[in-house]
Amino acid sequence: MEKKWQEMSAEEKREARFATLLSAEGVHFQSPEAEASFKANVKRLKDVIQLKKPDRVPVLILGTFVQAHLYGVTPFECMYQYEKLISAHRKFLQDYKPDLFSSPAFAGSGKILDILGYKQYKWPGHGISEKAGYQYVEGEYMLTEEYQALIDDPSDFWLRIYLPRIFTALEPMAQIAPFPNLWEIVGVSGQMIPFGIPPVQNALKALMEAGNEAMAWIQNIVAFQMEAKGMGFLNTAGGAAKAPFDILADTLRGTRAMMIDMYRQPGVVLRALERLTPLYIKQGASMATFSGNPVVFIPLHKGADGFMSDEQFKKFYWPTLKALILGLVAEGCVPFLFCEGSFNTRLEYLTELPRGSCFWIFDRTDMTNAKKLLGNTICIGGNVPSGLILTGTAEQVKAYCKNLIDVVGKDGGYIISFGTSMDEGKPDTIHAMIDFTKEYGVYK
């Protein structure tokens, strides 16, 4: 008899998730070769993560707008004309044939942002050029005195404080009552009162309109992801989560305020971090379940070298990031940590992670040292510089990749990838990275 999910070990859960991925339910493979290629991609990813020598170095293409850029499609078009976005991604897979691709979902929908009046970013055609990728607007989206509200009830904080602040159209949501107020007959009637207020009703209409747009968007995205599988390619991630510290430092408090909070109110920061951790384990695991892909993408920001001291990393950043990783691993997921900047001073911490449980894509980190320290613990990847891709030659790229494959790729445990999620590209250098690795990166 099949074991119930709750009774399964982390390893059994992971095996079950990989089996689901491999089964490719509902996928129409375009050819027997495409099916074989998809299965080989799954096996290659699984092997490399688990530190078993794969057949060759896997090729991951990490990109937000690069796929579109290569075909003259602007970031604005990606965010507003989904068919153009999808068409570029399709052509990209046909022409470049990476093993692992980034979903077009990374572009997001500008139409949804327009409907909601999103204030936390500027996006193409909305505060910045149509040719530029979206960019974060630094700010305090959670005020210093709101920590307790967040800790008491994060969902209530999100619903009644955060959403009204970051979306113009949802400002009236501040007027609704906390949902735990709803209890029994009188509670039900009372709870409904704010929903009779015209501005609140307008906010709900905006949500419905955004929801309709989201359905149009996701249909395009999911259809493409199925098609891409049918072509033999593997979507790099099935879900996403964030380090609790980055939720505070990027999403809520902003970089500067968060840095100061570490000195002025360390206790409340630590309580908030602990409060947030299980929420993101749930997010990553539930998305992985929904998508049928165990890999959970976790972009790391404010824990990079220089962004805090070792003492602060040990106290504020690492404990809840580690808990997030272990929580996801316990759910059978494979965390994919994406480290822009450099992580040289943090590498020792990574040796605390279970062997073969996750993979880390680095940007500026010293890869030789990372291999030396982490080679027996976790799979690493990345480090092909954006500058080289965009301003270098194919020969330079090949030489760079050769060194990475020779040194970091020795005996497996390495995925070739850009160090950053690219917005732009150059055909010759990207082809060089992919084609050279496929040829030279074969393990004998």
């Binding site: 500027k122 505060g127 910045i128 050029s129 040719k131 530029a132 990728g133 960019q135 974060y136 607007v137 630094e138 970089t255 500067r256 840095m259 100061i260 570490m262 000195y263 002025r264 220089g306 962004f307 805090m308 001291s309 602060q312 822009e340 900047g341 510089p385 954006s386 500058g387 080289l388 965009l390 301003t391 270098g392 950053t420 690219m422 917005d423 732009e424």
Partner: protein, 209 residues
Amino acid sequence: MAKDLVSALADLKEKEALKIVEDRLGGGEDPLKILDDARRAVEIVGKRFADGEYFIPDLVYSGEILKRITDIIKPKLAKASEVKRRGKVVIGTVAGDIHDIGKDIVVFMLDVSGFEVFDLGIDVPSQKFVDTIKETGSKVVGLSGFLTLAFQSMKDTVEAIRKAGLRNEVKIMIGGGQIDDQVRSFTGADAYGKDAMAAVELTRGWLRG
């Protein structure tokens, strides 16, 4: 409690530093002297950052404490004090890019290192750099950018400076998350700095000669 504002601020003891400022003002001391101590303290912060003892949050926090101290002292100053500066630097995040955290750290470090900094902000058109170089006579230009689109904007800015006939008048440094020597060569800048200290060292070197 230490009486020394310089060490309290340099050690990032906010409450202690503010208390000393209040006490010294209450004791009738010249506000300029207090402000001078605060400046010396922030110089020490900069030095500790350069030595790898302090990190970005320490800089940000010291800046925050300094701001509080300045807010207390400013109303009591007869006129703004003039500090002798070691040279002028024009800096900004290049066109198309709105990121400023890295740039602000460089501005802070150049400022505490004694340079007069003309901070043009974010998404700065190349012409604005050209105009400011002309207006201020700055000999050093810093171009910041976080996104890869900044590579081209930096190249365009260097080119605009050249077209304005100013290329031999200034040294140009670039920096940002994705910048390396490969990108420097693409843009035609004189140097790239991997962090704020590198920017200070480059500026020192150029303005000395």
